[in-house]
Symmetry: C2
């Protein structure tokens, strides 16, 4: 039987050692929530005060611009985190939406639980910060790519970085993420399948 906490444990153990007692402590800080496809986790304007770990499934984070157009900023599959430090600590409302693309299993902790883990599990804070760092660096790269790379280059880069995501999200959402039209993405794929 699938247990989302096993996924969490494996995730941690890949980063730092964890005794059974420590894991039990961690487990107590999280609650398990099942999400139906299409279910929202965060809506724009709401205050999101939690840390969320994706144990199974896939979510997306997106904004809606002034013209009413959706832009997918991020896909979140297994072992990805999302947390809004500003919402958690300062009650600042979210500027984006998050919803589930598949039926998913997520683990959620509140500000206090997050703080508990940071203070009591050596290694967690460090891993947390490194994750945040990576995220921001990847945002910088994405800005540069969006500004100068061609549609196909952005597609190739995505396929290289996240091959498994590409297989499970609808193609038009991948197009939204890449900032290209669904038609163009379809043509790129066709072209690439032809040449070998």
């Amino acid at each position: 039987m699938f247990d989302p906490f096993n996924t969490l444990r494996t995730y941690f153990e890949n980063r730092f050692p964890l005794t059974p007692e420590q894991f039990e402590y961690i487990r107590a800080q999280y609650i398990h929530k099942k999400l139906k496809r299409g279910e929202f986790v965060i809506r724009e304007g709401e205050v999101f005060k939690y840390g969320l770990f994706v144990a199974k499934g896939c979510l997306r984070r997106y904004i809606i611009d002034a013209k009413g157009k959706e832009h997918i900023l991020q896909f979140l599959a297994e072992t990805w985190w999302i947390s809004d430090i500003q919402g958690m600590l300062h009650g600042i409302p979210s500027s984006y939406f998050v919803d589930a693309l598949e039926d998913s299993d997520v683990l959620i902790t509140d500000q206090q639980g997050n703080q508990n883990v940071i203070e009591n599990i050596p290694g967690f804070a460090d891993a947390f910060i490194k994750g945040v760092q990576k995220h921001h660096q990847s945002k910088d790269n994405r800005i540069a790519a969006a500004l100068s790379a061609t549609a196909e280059e952005r597609y190739d880069e995505f396929m290289e970085k996240y091959p498994s995501i590409a297989q499970r999200v609808p193609q038009h959402m991948l197009a939204s993420y890449l900032g290209i039209s669904p038609e163009t993405l379809s043509r790129i794929r066709k072209r690439q399948s032809r040449r070998k």
Copy 2:
């Protein structure tokens, strides 16, 4: 005579009250550095362990992509900050460059000094976090704009947000920031000057 610490004081006082004693405390945490035009503050691969406040002048932050092309990610003029939390706390090397576009005056503090201010000046930590939040939100918006807005829309948005920056940076750098060719930017400006 210009005193960069006055700029810092004004900046703080606009955000939270500050007694003369508190300001003297803050002053002791920073050192003043003059930058020549073209001088580097951070190079890719170096570890940047400081917090930097621009009291006068203008800097730029940019990356160089796999094709060797520069992409300006950010301009930093008066009262802007740059700090690399990851470098400061974890020795992680920078992924970008920062240099001066004009002769500039900056105030620099090290990790300890930054920590001192956070712990001893109520209001600073809050302002710091809000600034970080704004920065990340603006990155998200920039990704969305780069993916879907036209060159002219991006230009207009920039002019509205940062009118004073546009007047002082070379036009081809603004083009680099916007992700358009210098020729296109020149044409956009001409078109807009004609119509009124």
